[in-house]
Each structure stands twice: as structure tokens, then as C-alpha cells.
């Protein structure tokens, strides 16, 4: 064997898997399909606003030709385009009238560079939801199984937040929170006073409100409150594979990293029943290579992992690797996204704030906590913030030129609320990715065909989100100026998950309670593909906790001779 372990993918999950495996003495190869990125050299957080190419805009013709999907993501700009794929080079298909926005970046660190950093634990009720209402496969683990691994990850990556004692949003190992501003405190009082059971708390975010020893020893410094995170952070102040997990893996001396290495498929030995290696295509030369290892972690992202498994067909596994259940590629979930309420207020304190806090507030789920109190299943939470704007936006808000325009631009605008709901999407087997039988990419890999629809329960949640958003804004004295009630296309929440779900039954799930493939014991999948349900919170923290737990388990199994 070339290595003890191969990790496919260097993003959120792969970085943590690599760290945990190497720290346990495993000689580990990380395969990254994109190019190398160096913190400080390739990050663009140094750019002042006036240094942004084209004021931050990507040339219109380039945008239309190369980024028709990626341009739907708020984080794409001329300062970040190097962190997003060109859709023109990485095609996929969707059925007519059923768009799916697959937002991604192929480079070292993957989407951990551009992620939104909101970090919340799933709750006991999330792990019990499938069993309770019968949708999806029952999670083979419960909250208590993952809780110590949430602790472990939070301590390592650094999550700022407040302890609230809410059963639906468990507390964690937090750094000090980024405090609410004065309007948010007033909003909190209004919401909590008018709607018992609802809480407005500081957003929990993977930015170092303070740098502790485990952060400083990796060269990480406290957050400078710039909110330039998606450009990469020279200070290493937010968690990404570049800032945290890969440097931690590298210092063990056990890490081998190969970039521009596209995983074509995983090789399966029918005699042993195990995976023996990974076929790789060089992204530039298109030469094929095979790497072998005792254990394989597939962390190529939800769609990418399904693509690799489905492309690993063999005589023994004609439907694809680890797919005896026919569940590989199915049950794609995201979060309801784009449900936005904007309101202005004239009853808030005439104060301001300093700094661009890398988070806002959070309203944890309050629906269906104890049984169903609506005509829908599951629930939703809200992310939001209050800000006072001026400058170009204020100057453009009304007709006028000259001193009138400038005077408007230099005034502090009214407190403005941005409130965005994130709702749980139910797993459904017909929401799935398959591989094209006729079309391949330039590396000869069949194109993914992504067929996902929002369904009745999802749309009921979307309606409830907007009703509640308006009600909370108005209860606090706001005037709603915008209410976007149609959810964005699936995928745009950038929380896609579920294509290799965990479960107790090998007939209806792909992975067991250790993220280990039922069909292939030395194959572990710890990215979003593993998720049995989506909850309504941002999922990366759970991916990382699952990755660390599975790595620990895999090393133990190897030591015990079980693999």
C-alpha cells in the first residue's frame, strides 16, 4: 500500500479527516482536484475597496460565459473569482424547469475558504426527526454520540457564541460572542416579549473573537472584524482548511498533499470486499495514476462524492460503489434559502457601531419543538442583522444630484433589518443525482445530472418563514420594505447534502453509524453526503464533527484488525 489512508477532497470535511488521521499516526494522502492555494499569497483580503478590479465586478461577458451559476452566489466578485469554478469548464445538467444551483470551488481548501462560517450544532430533536415522522432513514447515531466531537471541533476551529441553554440549539465550547448592536438588542426585546419561545442571540461563527493557544500555535490571530472572509484571511482568523486543519495535519509529518488530482473512481477488490485505492486523473496533463491505501475517506462534497461512487461501477457493484441500497445519489437536501425580509425602523436608538462584525444575530428554531404546532413538519431558523448604511446606496435611493446627493450619502441611514429564513428540506429519494450515460467532462468523467424539486412541506415552511419574518419585523416597529417569498433554487443555500445517507439498515442506507459504508468496510464518507436529515442549521460543523469521529473510529478499527 502507498498510504495508510487516502482522503479525497481538502475542503471542510477532508481537512478535518486529514488532521485527525495524521495526528493518529496515519500516513495520509490528500487528493485535491483543484490547484494549490497559499494563505497570504493567493488571498485577496489586502485589497482596499479602490483596489478591487473593476470595483469588484467581473467583466459582464466573462460573467455570462463562465459564471452563470456561480454568479448567483453573493460571495462571487472580481476579488474572489479564483475561488469559484468556471461553470463553462465544469458542466452538469438539470431537467428543464428544475434548476439546481451547484456553487463550488476547486482548489486547495475547497469551499472552506468562502464559507459563511455560521456554526451550529444539530440538536437531539434533529437526530430523532426521521424516526419520529418517518421521512428519510433513522439516524444511526444520536446527539450524545456526536456531542464530544462537536466539543473537539469547536475548540480546534474556534467558534464565537453565547451559551443560551436551548435544547433545540445545544451550547458548545465557545469563544466570546460578537455582541448584538443597539438595534438588535431592541429587536431581541421586542421579539422575545411578543413571541414567547423565540430567542434572538449572537450568531455563532467560526471567527476567532480571541485566539487561544491551540489557534496561535498554528499561526492564527484574532479576527480583525473586516468581513472580508470570502477573500481568504491573511490573519488566519476564521476556520478554513488553509488556516487550521491542513496546517495541523502538515505538522505531524504524516501528510502528503497532491493537488490537480481529480478522483475518477475508487477501486474495489471483490475478493476482499474492500476498496484498495483511487484512480486519479491529473487535471492538467490528464494522465492517470492510481494510489492505494488501507482506508479511504471520501470527502469530495455531496455531489462530488456521489459522482465518484456512481462512477466506480464494477462487475461486483454494477450500480456503483457501496450502492447495494440504490440510495447513492438520492435524498439530496439543501436549506430553504433566499427568503428575505428587509425592514427599516425609526424607533431605534440613534447610535452606531464600529467594525464589520463577521456575523449577525440568530433566531433558533421555535416551531414543532414538542410535537407539531403547524401544518408542516420540522422547522426553520433565521439569520439576520441590523445595520445603518450610507454612501452609494443612500445617495442612489432618491433622485437628486450635487450637494444634495452627497449630503444624503454622508448621513447615517435608518436602522435596517435583514432577516433571512433557513428552513429544513425533507429527504426525498427522487431528489437525486445520476450520471449521464452520454456526456462526459474534459477528463472523461460522466456529467452529473441533478434533479431536485422543492415539495409540499418545503413550500409550507417557506410561507411560514415569510409570515413570521414580517410579523417579527413589525412587532419591533419596523416597516417592511422587501419580502422575498419565493425560495431560491435548490442548491443556492450551498448546504447540499444526503447523497450517501447514514442509517442502520443496509437495505435503505449507504453508511452506518461510523460513516462507514455498509458494503465496503474500509470506505468512510464524512462530507454532506452522509447526512440523514438536514436540520435547519448550517451543517459544516456537523460534517467536521462526523469527520473527526469517523477518523478516530477508522484508526481504532485498523488497530483492532477489523478493516
Amino acid at each position: 500500500m502507498d498510504f495508510d489512508a487516502i482522503v479525497i477532497g481538502s475542503g471542510m470535511s477532508g481537512g478535518i479527516a486529514a488532521k485527525e488521521l495524521t495526528e493518529r499516526g496515519m500516513k495520509t494522502l490528500v487528493l485535491e482536484r483543484g490547484g494549490n492555494v497559499e494563505r497570504g499569497k493567493d488571498t485577496t483580503d489586502w485589497m482596499q475597496p479602490w483596489q478591487l478590479p473593476n470595483g469588484g465586478n467581473i467583466p459582464e461577458e466573462e460573467l455570462a460565459a463562465d459564471y452563470p451559476v456561480q454568479s448567483q452566489c453573493y460571495a462571487l466578485s472580481s476579488a474572489t473569482k479564483q475561488f469559484f469554478v468556471k461553470d463553462s469548464e465544469h458542466p452538469y445538467t438539470t431537467p428543464e424547469g428544475k434548476p439546481f444551483s451547484w456553487i463550488r470551488g476547486y482548489h486547495l481548501g475547497g469551499r472552506s475558504i468562502m464559507w459563511g462560517r455560521q456554526s451550529y450544532r444539530l440538536a437531539p430533536l434533529d437526530f430523532e426527526a426521521n424516526a419520529k415522522d418517518g421521512h428519510g432513514s433513522d439516524w444511526p447515531i444520536r446527539y450524545d454520540d456526536l456531542a464530544p466531537w462537536y466539543d473537539h471541533i469547536e475548540s480546534f476551529i474556534g467558534v464565537s457564541g453565547s451559551r443560551e441553554g436551548l435544547p433545540q440549539l445545544p451550547d458548545g465550547e465557545f469563544l466570546p460572542p460578537f455582541a448584538l448592536n443597539d438595534a438588535e438588542l431592541r429587536f431581541k426585546s421586542a421579539v422575545e416579549g411578543n413571541f414567547p419561545g423565540r430567542k434572538v442571540i449572537p450568531g455563532r461563527v467560526a471567527n476567532l473573537s480571541e485566539a487561544r493557544e491551540q489557534h496561535r500555535e498554528l499561526g492564527r490571530a484574532p479576527c480583525q472584524v473586516r468581513s472580508l472572509c470570502e477573500r481568504g484571511c491573511t490573519y488566519g482568523a476564521y476556520h478554513s482548511s488553509l488556516n487550521s486543519s491542513l496546517p495541523a495535519a502538515e505538522r505531524t509529518g504524516n501528510l502528503t498533499l497532491v493537488t490537480d488530482a481529480i478522483a475518477h473512481s475508487i477501486i474495489h477488490d471483490p475478493a476482499s470486499g474492500k476498496a484498495t485505492g483511487v484512480r486519479v486523473i491529473d487535471a492538467n496533463t490528464k494522465e492517470a495514476t492510481t494510489y492505494t491505501a488501507k482506508v479511504i475517506f471520501c470527502c469530495a462534497s455531496t455531489i462530488g462524492t456521489a459522482q465518484i461512487l456512481l462512477n466506480s461501477k464494477s462487475e461486483a457493484m454494477p450500480r456503483g460503489l457501496a450502492n447495494s441500497s440504490d440510495m447513492v445519489g438520492r435524498n439530496i437536501m439543501d436549506h430553504l434559502y433566499g427568503l428575505l425580509t428587509i425592514a427599516t425602523f425609526d424607533n431605534m436608538p440613534d447610535t452606531y457601531y464600529f467594525g464589520r462584525r463577521p456575523t449577525g444575530f440568530y433566531i433558533p428554531r421555535y416551531r414543532n419543538l414538542d410535537g407539531n404546532d403547524g401544518d408542516y413538519l420540522r422547522g426553520y431558523g433565521f439569520q439576520g442583522s441590523f445595520s445603518r448604511n450610507g454612501g452609494a446606496g443612500a445617495a442612489m435611493a432618491l433622485p437628486g444630484i450635487g450637494e444634495e446627493l452627497k449630503e444624503r450619502g454622508r448621513q447615517l441611514g435608518p436602522w435596517t433589518l435583514f432577516l433571512a429564513g433557513f428552513g429544513e428540506i425533507l429527504p426525498h429519494p427522487d431528489n437525486r443525482v445520476t450520471l449521464s450515460e452520454t456526456e462526459t467532462d474534459q477528463w472523461g468523467i460522466p456529467l452529473p445530472h441533478i434533479d431536485v424539486a422543492l415539495r409540499e412541506n418545503d413550500m409550507k415552511l417557506a410561507t411560514a418563514i415569510q409570515e413570521d419574518g414580517r410579523a417579527m419585523a413589525e412587532a419591533a416597529g419596523g416597516t417592511v420594505v422587501t419580502s422575498l417569498g419565493n425560495p431560491a433554487p435548490p442548491g443556492l443555500g450551498i448546504h447540499e447534502m444526503g447523497t450517501a445517507r447514514m442509517g442502520n439498515d443496509p437495505a435503505t442506507s449507504v453508511l452506518n453509524g461510523w460513516n462507514q459504508a455498509h458494503d465496503v468496510p474500509n470506505l468512510f464518507i464524512t462530507d454532506g453526503a452522509a447526512m440523514s436529515s438536514s436540520g435547519c442549521v448550517n451543517p459544516s460543523l456537523t460534517y467536521m464533527a462526523l469527520s473527526a469521529r469517523a477518523a478516530d473510529a477508522a484508526v481504532s478499527m485498523l488497530a483492532e484488525g477489523a478493516l
Partner: protein, 200 residues
């Protein structure tokens, strides 16, 4: 892996201007990006005079800094050359030509007295930016207006101004690395909104 073409060119131009002793011209180069050499788009002298007049009237110097201090005309030419599609270029040229034709006596906009320029552009702006009773499809952009092409021209000029170093340091405020989060500070007569490229 990041392409720094725009910045490299800017740096080269600044160096060339310094070597030429043209330090006064650096203000005009304090722009988001000048037109790339390989772009065929350039405003001719009359168009640049028109654009300069429009930018100056729209965002005058007053008691702080204006569009010309911020290098907006050069930045706008850079945007048209490096960013705009042919359709956008044509649209913006059309809007500028429309402004050039505002004087009923046929004088070019740039040749008019400053006060007259202000009268004509203010009236044109009031009509063009008049709010439309239409749904706002972009909650992060300005409200729908009766002449969206003129609104876009204005938005580009205004945005270039407020992204400039001159405006961000002398008209409103910007701190690249605040270093700390203060959730509550008093508002004083000197308080200015924080600018920058972000949404919030």
C-alpha cells in the same frame, strides 16, 4: 493563481506618471482601474469632456472631495473598457449622448455654464430616477426607476466615487482592519457612515 492584470497595469501607469513628473495627474489615477491597453474602448476627447462635466456636476467637490478628485471619469472609462459588454457600452454612451442633447439651444453639455449644467442634469435626473410602481427585483440595488439605463449610468458613477480612496477617507469613512467590534458608539456631528464594497 490570482490574476493581477488590472493592478499591475495601474502600478505601471502610476510609475510612468511619476517618471514623467506628472504628480498632479496621480489624482486622476486614483481609480479603480484604468482601461487596459489591449481594450479598443476609449472615450474620444469630446466624450471625455462630457463625462467629466457630468461627473463633476453630479458629485461636485464642495467642501470635501468630488468625482474629479476621485478620478471617476478615468475609472468609468476603465469600467467601460475592462468590464462592460458592448451592449452596456452602447447604453452608457447613449445616456451620455442624451445628456449632451439636453440644452434646447443645441450647446454641448460641457460647454454650458456650470449653473446651467446643474439645472439641466437635475431636471433630467428627477425625471429619470422617478420611482416606478414596480416590484424591486434586487433588494440590494436602488428602487426601480423610470429610466433604468440612466439610473445605471448614475449608479456606476456614484459607486465609483464612493469606492474611491478620496471619498472613503475624506467624504465618508472606511477602516480596512477595524481590529475590534464596538457594538455601540455614540453618533456625533462628525460621524460618517462606513463605506466599502460589502452589502452590510
Amino acid at each position: 493563481m490570482f490574476e493581477e492584470n488590472g493592478l499591475s497595469r495601474r502600478a505601471l501607469l502610476e510609475r510612468a506618471l511619476i517618471l514623467a513628473g506628472a504628480s498632479a495627474a496621480l489624482g486622476a489615477c486614483d481609480a479603480i482601474g484604468l482601461a487596459d491597453e489591449d481594450s479598443p474602448f476609449r472615450f474620444d476627447a469630446d466624450q471625455m469632456a462630457l463625462l467629466t462635466a457630468v461627473a463633476d456636476v453630479m458629485i461636485p467637490k464642495g467642501d470635501s472631495v468630488g468625482a474629479l478628485d476621485a478620478g471617476v471619469p478615468a475609472s468609468f472609462e476603465g469600467l467601460m473598457a475592462n468590464w462592460a459588454s458592448p451592449e452596456t457600452q452602447a447604453s452608457m454612451l447613449g445616456q451620455l449622448a442624451m445628456i449632451d442633447g439636453l440644452d434646447p439651444d443645441g450647446a454641448t453639455f460641457a460647454s454650458l455654464p456650470r449653473e446651467r449644467q446643474g439645472e439641466l442634469l437635475a431636471a433630467h435626473d428627477a425625471a429619470a430616477i422617478a420611482p416606478l410602481d414596480a416590484p424591486n427585483m434586487n433588494p440590494f440595488g436602488p428602487p426601480p426607476a423610470s429610466n433604468p439605463e440612466y439610473q445605471r449610468l448614475k449608479q456606476l458613477l456614484v459607486t465609483l466615487y464612493y469606492l474611491s480612496e478620496a471619498a472613503l477617507t475624506q467624504e465618508i469613512s472606511y477602516t480596512h482592519a477595524p481590529g475590534e467590534w464596538k457594538p455601540s458608539i455614540p453618533v456625533t456631528p462628525d460621524t460618517r457612515p462606513e463605506g466599502g464594497p460589502g452589502m452590510f
